[in-house]
Assembly symmetry: C2
Homo-oligomer: 118 residues x 2
DNA sequence: TCCTTAGTTCAAAAGTTATTGAACAATTGG
DNA sequence: CCAATTGTTCAATAACTTTTGAACTAAGGA
């Protein structure tokens, strides 16, 4: 049951901008960028919104081509589609993430995080 | 009767992204960028939307801090707030404009343009 | 097998944004 | 002064987006 993703050349600029123009989704992308390489599951974002609402926002990000969601057991592993975005809109993602970095007022992910020590 | 504009530090990233995530407004910004330095009046954009609707979209751009509108007689002179945007979100405007450049499918301004020769 | 965990789907409600036309204001040229 | 030009405001409507809760599916562990 792999979820539908647009191909790189189907990714649309206004749609990407509109999708990033929501504080919850921008916070998700910001957090994904800060953990780049590490695939995260939805539950990481539960302090941003309810489970149902997260499902909605993550679907928007996926359908816009901003993220990729892979099924892994009962989880979804979510990653940024950096290569595709960089190819399609060079510099855009970096400048958005850098700007989000400086933005106090964006919701933050994992403020009450518990690290499991080995 | 000067219209209200946010100061540079009041410009918000998600609001700017949301405002640019509309094809009509993105086309306006793209065209402003292509004529940078030249202040344009609203009528330049009449092939994108009705007069009333343009007024709405131009107000959104102004309120988000993307453009500046100055009253000049019965016209408004509209310019991109490039300095403020570059200071606040370095690289963002350039990457958006470069991406819009490559985007066939965005509405275009002035396709039936008549140049007045001196 | 049964229970739990992880996430989706659906339908409804709430909220927001875009579009429209008619009426208005302000400036300028005749 | 009058008329035309340029753009705004207002109220209504249409069209979307976001949020919600309840019901569901699918996988994994006991």
């Amino acid at each position: 049951m792999s979820l539908p993703h647009p191909t790189a050349d189907q990714i649309s600029l206004p749609i990407v901008l509109a999708v990033l123009g929501d504080p919850t989704r921008l916070a998700i992308v910001h957090y994904l960028a800060s953990k780049e390489g590490v695939p995260l599951n939805c539950s990481k974002f539960l302090d941003l919104a309810s489970k149902t609402n997260l499902s909605y926002h993550l679907a928007k990000l996926r359908e816009a081509g901003v993220t990729r969601s892979e099924a892994a057991g009962t989880s979804r592993l979510i990653t940024l589609r950096r290569d595709d975005l960089d190819k399609r809109f060079p510099g855009l993602l970096d400048s958005v993430i850098a700007a989000a970095e400086g933005d106090k007022g964006l919701p933050a992910v994992g403020t009450a995080e518990v690290e499991v020590s080995a």
